[in-house]
Symmetry: C2
């Protein structure tokens, strides 16, 4: 019956839409049963890693918020795009113009940002003003060889007050305006899942990704050789179940249900 849940040694959990819905004055609302589910995973001896495309805050700030919402989580357990982008920038001698959320800027503190030779775009939210997007466009189109690095390619996410446009939409705007293709750091990039698996020390065939995004979470993880489960929380929409390219290994109502099934198979 629940063959998808067998032979598991490690779990990768998406955060937004799986642990909690972001937004509102408190910064978000936990999804019922998710905090308990994280505790159960930790008690089970399964390996666990949080694999997020969150780029609205430093990992420190983000983790603090999640702890405040009742989650047992630490910075060292989180794989996120900004540190991955910093590694890539250093390796290639790239100096970014940042089109990101103010709260993400400290993640790039060590990076030389003078005389930019690339643009990094994250989920800048309200910082996606016309002036800011246009400034990034001008930097990009002024480069002899435009390099655009995108922290994820999500279409939208769900906050407590509704759906919000994600970084992918603005990545597409800049791609089109400058006739370039962005390099994506974060889910669904294969290298990103592979680094999360390496940090967890579990091979893909023994790991399950649990997420609410049919493309970035489910499709990306499956491309990597992992199993992937879609939760019916967060940005999940019923039409996801007819997605032309991606079919999850299972659907579950929420993280709590996924974890109960997986633990019952140990």
């Amino acid at each position: 019956m629940e063959a998808w849940a067998r032979g598991v040694r490690g779990l990768l959990l998406d955060i937004s839409g799986v642990l909690y819905d972001s937004g509102g004055s408190g910064g978000g609302v936990p999804i019922a049963g998710s905090a308990e589910a994280v505790r159960k995973i930790k008690a089970s001896g399964l390996k666990l890693r949080f694999c997020t495309n969150e780029t609205q805050a430093t990992r420190e700030k983000f983790v603090k918020k999640l702890q405040g919402l009742g989650f047992d989580i630490s910075v060292a357990e989180v794989t996120a795009p900004a540190p991955a982008a910093c590694r890539l920038l250093k390796e290639r001698g790239l100096r970014p113009h940042l089109l990101v959320h103010d709260d993400l800027v400290p993640e790039f503190a060590e990076i030389d940002k003078t005389n930019p030779n690339c643009v990094v775009v994250g989920d800048a939210a309200e910082n996606f003003s016309y002036a800011n997007v246009n400034e990034a466009f001008r930097v990009l189109i002024g480069l002899e060889k435009p390099v655009l690095i995108s922290l994820g390619r999500g279409r939208y996410y769900k906050e407590t007050d509704g759906l919000k446009l994600d970084v992918g939409a603005y990545m597409k705007a800049l791609e089109y305006a400058c006739d370039v293709e962005a390099e994506v750091v974060g889910k669904p990039a294969k290298a990103f899942f592979e680094s999360a698996l390496a940090e967890m020390g579990v091979p893909p065939q023994e790991a399950i990704m649990i997420g609410d995004d049919i493309v970035s979470d489910v499709g990306g993880a499956q491309q990597c050789g992992m199993r992937a489960v879609q939760v019916r929380t967060g940005k999940y929409r019923p039409c996801d179940e007819n997605h032309p390219q991606v079919k999850p290994d299972a659907y579950v109502n929420n993280l709590a249900e996924a974890v109960d099934v997986i633990l019952s198979q140990l």
Copy 2:
């Protein structure tokens, strides 16, 4: 030598980047020789029509600005996307949510905008705030069958203080976020050129389009069976001359030069 300029009975002129560069406190700066070139065309007996994707103002306001800059132009001579969009909306019983410049809104005065069943996006400029773009996204993704109508698909245009992102970039953002394809009203849509030709009363093979946009002006007009000339003013960039798909019938330094060549062949 100048075979491209022979057998002409009518001219379609792009406005921004051909007659003038927009922006700045006066609303723009005429391109040297363009006002005189328009007068020469009118004196020659050639048919003339202005074919613009301008959607930052009503035609009335836009024409008034151009008159102030010294151009002999009237509202009746201008083919623009907003009136074409209004015809389409009425024909199909569509009620738009508008993501456009404040100054364009009066063009839609006669259109029912209650309980929207489509989104119309124009060159909203500073109105492309995150909140406004997100609101349009929410309307669109909430529709059972999302309909997105875009007033042009330009990548960028040139103002006196530099390049500015055009409607096409935001069209792409919404297309991606909602997984829809926009219907484009305005250049390079064939129907738009055809209506400009009909208004002028000249068949495509006897008409020349003069514009600064290699895709929207030149490519679009050629698709329609017209000849098309690219000026080296406005948003023109030298790399346009290596465009993989579109090759103009001629390049000219500016409108004045194009008009002198055409008139010399009459």
